[in-house]
Amino acid sequence: MAEQGLSAENLAKAESIIACYPERRSALIPLCHLAQAQHGYLTNESMEDIAELVGCSPAEVRGTASFYDMLHTEPVGRYVFAVCTNIACMLAGAYEVLSHAEQHLGIRVGQTTHDGLFTLEEAECLAGCDKAVCVQVNHRFFGPIDSEAFDQLAHDLADGGLAGTVPPHGVLSRVNRSVGMPAKAHAAKAGGGAGGAANGGAANSATALEEAADAAATQAAGGATAGQGSAIGSGS
């Protein structure tokens, strides 16, 4: 089942993420996001890979991941609906929308449809209260959403109409860091003078500068983000 772990490409990417931090363990959560982007959830094998990469046990990776709502240790649907029902959305009828979503999808909160397309979650406040009822699909915002708008959203997702806006579950940022840590390298060269990172991470820093090419690809992907117009960072 080796193919259930991190791909060679992601293992390389993982090293460049780790290089950003003074201590390897700090990369644990970013690496969990990386693994979820590959598989849609955290497979046992990818948690083992992450443990080896950051220097802790697989149980510590699972124990940490299980604390966080966004990290899944079981498979979820390609599209995860998160319907906010917290105070502002509740006042706008969120529970009616959630009940409707259950009927429309034929599942209860926490379940996944048989075809593996949709998972339904009841979310805490998503910070989209000016557009209550606020719904996220794979952490992309939609709102205000009523029952009719929910049906339309589910329809558009199912027929691929939103494929450019909503990547499969697990893909968080489609823009990657394209720069290394030149200040850290600079400080190391200068003998760790004023403002120098004294935490022994400097040795990692040289690895990261080569990432620019892969950022160019993701920048292209960024252009399709959520109907927000031009490509992210078109100013550079």
Partner: protein
């Protein structure tokens, strides 16, 4: 005009492409940083002290004073708290998506002033678009020479890391945030030390500032701290970004001058909230996130002033105002807020972990029509065990303030709307809604 004041954090919001480097530079971006680099770190710190800038995350601690508490050490860090999760708060979300360069510029200025070896922006994981924009802005800032070695040809160098969260309200608490940034579960650290300025990230002195606090810094450096503190009144200096939601005609974000603007202005002024939805009666409003005790129509003429709101028994908190009209059920509102705390309690401390569950269950049975008259006293008694005395500010039995925030909505609801709570018991159900609350 109440909206007749400089825009500090929302100046660029009129531009569709406000998040790009090109637009940022075309609107004076990174000029504050250039000016700061020509000053000494102490001079920058002095300007922030002169600005009387209160932290915009929730606790309202003076930003300049926070920096003064940094312990002397060879390595110190700056961490920007962008894990905005207090229910009904969406101002940092807006800033992250719309003006990521302004946050980055402010971060570099703060790192320069505090002598940080590296800076981290902890961005809430659910902000996928925000993470993309911040990451792109970070890449572009390096290309532009605003980050990395020898920033703008000065002797100052800084690396910045955009760090994604993974979904946990508790990570907004600064010591939990640091634990999370170290790759662990988000458990708040035992106090003392009370501030990460003493022992923070990797045990080193760390300044933790909120996104909006940081976004004010370029303006303060460019226009002076005195110009900032000339806005607002007394200790509530400057403008502040408020998130308005619930039963109002125009929910949204509004940057207003602190203290001089009142809750009535924010909720009713045509250029702001434009009144309660459908011309209905105002029943109650939450003045500063769901951790804050509720306010009522008699509080409308109070200014958006940290001290005044504190003296009146609540807080401006995270800068979010939730409006409830006459159709809102106080039991249901208190239940939903309590359910939030129950779900988000990290589980470290018994009063919070167990207490939140018990009061949530009692509120749910009242809302569902299975309550008893004595449940009201039972709720207050349980709350008293979580935050003894039920005073304001609350007393703590827990490591962090999540626990002591639980009683706010319950005590507000029972104190003000006792009759409506009892009506649920008498009628065997909610007089406002036919639906049962969810048993999830």
């Amino acid at each position: 005009m109440i909206t007749d004041h400089p825009r500090i954090v929302t100046a660029r919001m009129g531009h569709e492409d406000s998040y790009t480097l090109a637009r940022y530079l075309a609107t004076g971006g990174y000029e504050g940083l250039r000016k700061a680099l020509g000053m000494t770190p102490e001079q920058v710190h002095d300007e922030v002290n002169a600005a009387s800038l209160l932290g915009r995350g929730g606790a309202g601690f003076p930003a300049g004073r926070k920096w003064s508490m940094m312990r002397e050490a060879p390595t110190t860090y700056l961490v920007v708290n962008g894990d905005e999760s207090e229910p009904a708060t969406f101002k940092d979300h807006l800033l992250i998506e719309r003006v990521p360069h302004q946050i980055i510029e402010g971060t570099i200025i703060a790192a320069y002033a505090t002598g940080a070896a590296a800076a981290f922006i902890f961005c809430r994981g659910e902000f996928a678009l925000g993470l993309e924009r911040l990451t792109q802005a970070c890449n572009d800032a390096y290309q532009h020479g605003a980050l990395g070695g020898e920033i703008f040809g000065s002797g100052y160098s800084l690396d910045l890391v955009i760090h994604p969260g993974a979904g946990a309200y508790i990570c907004g608490e600064e010591t939990a945030l640091l634990e999370s940034l170290e790759g662990k579960r988000g458990f708040p650290r035992i106090k003392p030390p009370y501030f990460p300025a003493a022992i923070g990230l990797y045990g080193q002195p760390t300044a933790v500032n909120n996104v909006e606090t940081i976004a004010n810094l370029p303006w303060i450096v460019l226009n002076t701290g005195a110009a900032f503190s000339a806005l607002g009144e007394g200790s509530s200096a400057g403008t502040r970004l408020f998130a308005l939601s619930g039963h109002v005609e125009r929910p949204g974000w509004y940057e207003v001058e602190m203290s001089k603007t009142t809750f009535r202005d924010l909720i009713y002024d045509k250029s702001l909230g434009a009144g309660v939805r459908g011309g209905r009666e105002l029943k109650a409003f939450i003045p500063g996130g769901v951790s804050a005790p509720w306010f009522f129509p008699e509080h409308l003429d109070m200014g958006l002033d940290q001290d005044a709101v504190g003296k009146a028994g609540s807080m401006l908190g995270s800068g979010s105002v939730v409006v409830m009209d006459e159709t809102a059920c106080p039991v249901r509102a208190a239940w939903r807020i309590t359910r939030f705390f129950q779900r988000e309690s990290c589980g470290e401390c018994t009063p919070c972990r167990e207490g939140s569950g018990w009061v949530e269950k009692i509120l749910r049975r009242i809302e569902d029509g299975f309550g008893r008259e004595e449940d009201l006293e039972l709720l207050l008694d349980a709350c008293d065990n979580i935050a003894p005395g039920l005073s304001w500010p609350p007393k703590q039995t827990t490591i962090c303030v999540l626990g002591s925030s639980i009683p706010s909505s319950i005590v507000s609801g029972i104190t003000r709307f006792r009759d409506e709570f009892l009506l649920h018991v008498k009628e065997g159900g909610c007089p406002f809604s036919a639906d049962e609350v969810r048993h999830a």
